[in-house]
Structure formats: C-alpha cells, structure tokens
Amino acid sequence: MRESAQQYVLQSSDFQKLLDALIKRGYQILGPTIRDGAIVYEELISVDDLPVGWTDEQNGGIYRLKRRDDQAMFGYAVGPHSWKKFLHPPVVRLWQATQDENGLQIKEEPRQARKMALIAARSCELHAIAVQDRVFMGGNYTDPGYKSKREQIFTVAINCSDAGGTCFCVSMKTGPKASFGFDLALTEVLQGEVHYFVAEVGSELGGEVLRELPVVLAQEPAQTAAENVVEKTRQEMGRTMDTTNIKDLLYGSYEHPRWENVAARCLTCANCTMVCPTCFCTTVEDVTDLQGEHAERWQKWDSCFTMDFSYIHGGSVRATAKARYRQWMTHKLATWFDQFGSSGCVGCGRCITWCPVGIDITEEVAAIRETKKEENNGESTKNTR
C-alpha cells in the first residue's frame, strides 16, 4: 500500500487546468470521448470532449452507452479502444525504398516526435502497456518506433469508479487501483454537489505538473472517500477468473474437447485480438507505385485468427478455428508467462464485450478447469481403491 504517499484534492471544475498544463508542455492530449455510440480514445481539445454524464453497459457481445444521473467525467469502464492504438498504431510505414541505376536505397521512416499525454488510463491498461513494453523493448531487439513514443508519454491514470459487466481485473491482480506506471493517478469522487479528484503523484514530472494546479492536500475524509470508490469497484467486478496454476492448466489442455466446443461458436473474426490491449501481432505489406521505382513497407496489426497468420508454403499450420482459438487463449494465459514473464491477459474484459457471439474467456477457463477437476477426482478415486 502507498499509505504514506501524499494525496491532493483537485476540483473537477479545475480539470481543464490539468489539460492546459500538459498542452503548454507540448503534449498532444489523448483521452476518452464519445464517437459512434462508444467511448473511444481520440485527441481531445478540452474537457468538453470527455464523456461527462455517460456510462456503459457491457456484457458478452453487448456494449451500450447510457446516461448517468450525475455528471461523472470518468464513470464508465473501458471501451473498444486501448492505448496501443497510439503506442503501437494499427498501421505504420516502416520504410520506403527506391530502385534505380544506383541500386536499391532504403530509407527508414522518420520517427514522430510529438509527445502524448494519455488521459484517464485505467489500471488494467497500465498493466497492458507494461506487457507491451516487454514485447517491444524487453528482449534483444527494441522496436525504436514504439520506444520513442513510449518514452515520451505522460500518463494520467484514473482509478476505476465503475466496474464494467465484463471486467475481471481483480482476478488478474491488475486493478482497479493504479499502482505503477503513471505520472498522476486520480480517483473521481462524486457526492451530490461535491465533485473532486483525489490525486496521487507517480513521477517527478507528475509532481511538477500537479504543483501548477490549484490543489490542496487531501484530508482524511477525502482519502477515505477515494478509497471507498475503488473498494466499491473491487466488489462489483462483472466477471471472475480463477488463475490458480493457470499456466499448467492450459499447457495440460492442448487436446481438451472444450476447444471443439468454442470453435463451434467462434467466427474467427479477430475482434478479440483487435480490442485486446496486449495483442501485439503484426504483418507487413509491401506496396509499389505504378512505375515500379518506389516501394514501401507497411506494418499492420494482424491476428492469429486469420488463416494467413500461420501460412507456410503448402498451407496454414492452424487451419481450424479450434487451433486458432486455442493459440490465442493459450498464448494469453500460459505461453505468455514463458515468453515475457507475465500473463498476457489483464482482465479488461474487452474480448468478451466485443465478441459478436459473446465468447467469454473467463467461462472457457472455468469450463476447462471444471473437467480437469473431474479428471483429478476420478484419478484419486481410482487410486484409493
């Protein structure tokens, strides 16, 4: 616990001042706003762009915006977007090449310098960013494009006040309270007419920014109110997942009949991988101009649910939906540990909400676990005879 950390109170009416302080420092402000009936992450101009007074209703295959009866600015769970769209964009030009009498010239794409401020990142999302950090910067090779963006972000975390219907961060130990990876962390407190944020500083730069704002030291009641907000969210998780020995459970279930069951429902549409904040897979596309003198290579998000993904000459290694769903889920919950030292799932629930047929990763794990229990019970009965 960070009991000793200083906490401050920022009035909700002063939130714009936070954005202004960041804009003044040259940050592009990225945060939640309503578009096409969903709360998405876009560039913000002012607090007016925030989804004030809105919340979301979420369940397997269901997402719906609803009016709140208050003016909460961040009274919703996570939407279809995640911060990876900025840090690991869906489409990136890697380089351009020309070919002429001087031979082949390849020019790396210049890196974007604009600093990004992420407004209202949730704890599960900070965990997701940390997961992608390990993918793109944690090994022998570093993705310089990711790194240059990543190193310049300013993160304003929001401790969740509303658990979504598909949230299970408590099970994954990734929330609902931000514990690392932020410059400032805020808890939104709404009590009738009283509307303020309890702020915690996560970095030197965060402290510097906060000192420019009209904040006061938080007293005991405000601190307790903030704790209660998070505690209530913790109690209201929409989903749970038993993660006991989950890696071994899945490593031991490659031939489990449940995969057939889920494959009968899965459309292999790849929605889950697109909305997942940790899914990092990409493919590359080469394009040329009509004269054939200029070529470009683009990197695009890809999904292990496509047939092309595992194609080697002769065919796809994972030809069936069963194999592809198994790959995705086993990767998230088991092989990820061996690859990157952590779970690949942060419990944000997006894959459940945005699955058109409502396939639920927590339900799939439970189903596999259930049969394994039966197997084990069967074994022990046999053994005692």
Binding site: L94, I106, V135, V284, Q299, H331, Q339
Partner: protein, 296 residues
C-alpha cells in the same frame, strides 16, 4: 561499431554477385555488400530476411561459409510469390537483407564428438555451413556422416560438392532418393544380364530414415543435426532414438511463418517459443512435447 540505432526491420542493400541454378526449383544467390555497410557475420544455422524490391521479404537460411562473411550465400527454393520472383534476379541486381537471426547449429557443442547430419530436400542448405565448419577444423570431431534424402536424383542439391565430399576419406556421405528415375532400358527376354546401372541412378532408393543405420558413428557419443520437412524430421528423430541417441543429442531446425524475425510480429510462435529468436535450431529435448501437438 554500429552508428545510430538501426531499426531491426530495415534491410541493407546487397548486390547479387552470382546466380547458380541448383535444381529445377532451387537456386543459389551469392551476395556482396552494396551500401556503406560491411560484412555480415553469421553462425551456421542462422537465417536472414531477404527482400526483393517491390515484391516482399522471406526468411532464408544462410547456406554459405561462415568463415567467409564477405560473401553472403543463400540457397532458395521457388515455392511462393517472393521466392518465385527471386528466381529471376540477375548478377548486378540488388536485394535487401537484414540479419542474421536465430539460433545456430551446435557445432561447438559437437566438438570431440561424432557428427551426424541428416537432411531432406532443401534442408541440406541450412546444414551446408555446418559441413564447411566441421571440415575446416576436421580434427576436432570424431566420425562425420551426412545422410541426405531427396525426392528424385534431379532434386539433389550441391551435387558436384557432394561428389567431392564423397571422395574424402574423413567423412561418410549417404544419399538416397524416394524414387529413382524410370529407365527405358528393356531386359532381354532370355538374358540374365542387363545394361549396367551406371547409366542410370546407381545410388540408393528408399526413405532417408532407412539410411541412418548405414552411418558408421558412435550413436551414443554423437550430435545429430536434422533439417527437412517436419514429417521427415519426426521419423528421423524416432530412428535416432532407436539407435541410442538421447533427445538432447538431437537438434532440429523448425520452420514457421515469419514476418519480423525479431519476436515482434508473433507469427512464428510454436507453443511458448518464437521460432525466429528461440529457434530455428532447437535441441529436440526442448520441443519434444510441442512437436506432437497438431496445429500448434
């Protein structure tokens, strides 16, 4: 050494110095640096991502000599759009290359031991650097045997080089084909004799696994390096086990779809491993359990 940090996805230009047709569908490209960059040092078993302007990029094992890094040699089988287009490159053309990537064959670990190389089809190409290296310090190894299988005699790679190897007293080379070219020779209806087989394929016919028994090596003190189609590798491993090799004496080279070669793109996952950075060469003991899972 390196100046500014270079994006691992950006290739460097290499000029084609020589093109050699190996078989109907395979060819070898010899490349030299064409930009300001220098040589490319590699270890036997590693691969490069080779880019053909405007067409695309494919992972190709280095098939040349690691002692000669100025000359980059790739043997390519024309099976997809990119490799088929690469078949048309000429001397003087420029390709993009990034690499080398991946794990090498355990040549160092094989020092003091017998060496068994089992290759199938194009699988000889990634193993040729091992043969070069072993022969360049031949005294460090015990008995050395190469067992190589292809579909037909016409599919045998590096045939003139193989002939030279076969003449060496310090290595065994066993070649087999799945089917020998049919001949139009007829047998005299009454005679016992027939035209000498020397005019047709006089080598072995049969699967490569059946030839492993011919290798005169101490299987208990050998390192086996295996590369070929997965089915062939599976049965080769079984045969090697039968001959007394422990699973950690057997190394195989795996193939999966690769786009980035550095672990970013996710395509080449094989269970918990990434073929591009944890492989392509694995001790079989490490992937034994994965190998039997279908559609992994």
């Amino acid at each position: 050494m390196a100046s500014a940090p270079v994006h691992p996805m950006v290739p460097e230009p290499w000029r084609v110095r020589r093109v050699r047709k190996e078989t109907q569908e395979t060819f070898t490209l010899e490349l030299e640096p064409a930009g300001g960059h220098g040589e490319l040092r590699f270890l036997a078993g590693q691969f490069n991502m080779v880019y053909l302007f405007g067409v695309g990029e494919v992972p190709i094992s280095v098939s040349g000599d690691a002692n000669d890094p100025h000359k980059l040699v790739h043997t390519i089988r024309a099976v997809g759009p990119v490799t088929r287009a690469m078949r048309k490159v000429k001397r003087g053309d420029t390709l993009g290359v990034r690499g080398p990537f991946g794990t090498p064959w355990p040549v160092t670990a094989a020092s003091g031991k017998d060496v068994l190389i089992v290759a199938g089809g194009i699988g000889l190409a990634p193993l040729r650097p091992v043969i070069y290296e072993v022969l360049s310090k031949r005294h460090q190894f015990g008995d050395v045997a190469v067992v190589y299988g292809t579909r037909t005699p016409a599919d045998i790679l590096f045939s003139s080089e193989i002939e030279r190897w076969q003449k060496r007293p310090d290595m065994q080379v066993h070649i087999t084909v799945d089917r020998a070219a049919a001949t139009k020779d007829t047998i005299k209806s009454d005679g016992q004799e027939r035209p000498p087989h020397a005019t047709i394929w006089s080598g072995n016919v049969g699967v490569v696994t059946a030839l492993i028994a011919r290798a005169k090596i101490d299987f208990r003190n050998a390192i086996a390096m295996v590369c070929g189609p997965e089915v062939m590798m599976r049965f080769t491993v079984q045969e090697l086990e039968k001959r007394g090799l422990a699973l950690d004496q057997i190394y195989i080279s795996m193939e999966r779809n690769m786009k980035c070669a550095v672990g970013f793109c996710g395509h080449c996952q094989f269970g918990p491993t990434f073929i591009c950075k944890d492989g392509p060469v694995f001790p079989y003991s490490r992937i034994e359990t994965l190998f039997s899972i279908r559609e992994l």
